[in-house]
């Protein structure tokens, strides 16, 4: 098994843990934690693919930075959405948010 495969398996492990967390968690905040795990696995996979193969290194590092920027934007928006949801519904449990009108 090559070194890159080990990194990719770690990334897949993070992806699976994130999916498990998204299904298993009750509150929206727990689901956000799962999404962060998945995004981190994606960044790790991109970096490993570029750094350990003849592909240009700058490409992988730029890709990982873009993933981080996306995660930052996503976390900001999710915080605002969580605030609005918790004000309207008084809780953030995923199974109880069954109406789309506020």
């Amino acid at each position: 098994m090559s070194v890159m495969t080990i990194y990719h398996l770690v990334a897949i492990f993070l992806l699976c843990l994130g999916i498990f967390g998204i299904v298993y968690r009750r509150t929206l905040v727990g689901i956000v934690l799962g999404i962060e795990l998945i995004l981190n696995g994606a960044g790790l996979s991109i970096m490993a693919s570029a750094q350990l193969t003849p592909a240009p290194n700058a490409l992988g590092q730029a890709g990982a930075l873009l993933v981080m920027g996306l995660a930052a934007a996503e976390a900001t928006l999710l915080l605002a959405i969580l605030l609005v949801v918790s004000k309207r519904f008084k809780n953030v449990e995923a199974d109880k948010l069954i109406t789309m009108r506020g």
Partner: protein, 174 residues
């Protein structure tokens, strides 16, 4: 290669960080208190940053620490504080067995398919990677990668503006 005299140390660092990632990940998805889950996520982020250091990309590793550990986890902590997701709240109620089985199934399928694909179709890879200078990365961003770079800054601006609008609109209605 001449710089492989510390190879055993590098393997130890690799598996140590993988262990940190695994423990932190399990804390993140299984902990009953959301604050503990967030601490587990921070542990995982530190492990991934260590793997970035091991891949000879110190700039990206420091960015990981700055952006994820410094900014994103603080945002999530604010979300925990402001939404009454207190310990002993919704998350501590026992799950039904069906939900656990569904979650395990949803996690197992990509593990099997993607894992076997990654093992079978892996191209030969280098053992060590060459470090590139930050100036090279900056020139890459400014020359070849200028459109995604500008788009991500536009996306960040729109996200911040959208967050402010979302938070302010509710206050005006009251």
């Amino acid at each position: 290669m001449e710089n492989l005299q510390y190879e055993n140390l590098a393997w130890a660092v690799l598996y140590g960080h993988i262990a940190i990632i695994a423990v932190g990940g399990f804390i993140t998805v299984l902990s009953q208190s959301l604050v503990r889950a967030l601490v587990g996520l921070i542990m995982t982020l530190f492990g991934v940053a260590g793997l970035f250091f091991l891949m000879a990309a110190p700039f990206i590793a420091l960015m990981q620490l700055l952006i994820y550990v410094g900014a994103v986890s603080v945002l999530i902590f604010f979300a925990i504080m402001l939404t009454n997701a207190w310990p002993g709240g919704d998350e501590s109620v026992a799950r039904t067995g069906k939900k656990t089985v569904y979650a395990l199934l949803a996690a197992m399928l990509p593990a099997i398919f993607l894992g076997s694909a990654a093992i079978k179709t892996a191209p030969p890879s280098d053992l060590v990677s060459k470090e590139i200078e930050v100036s090279v990365l900056g020139q890459f961003f400014m020359a070849d990668f200028i459109l995604p770079f500008e788009l991500i800054s536009l996306l960040l601006t729109v996200a911040m503006a959208g967050a402010v609008v979302l938070a302010l609109e509710r206050r005006r209605q009251k």
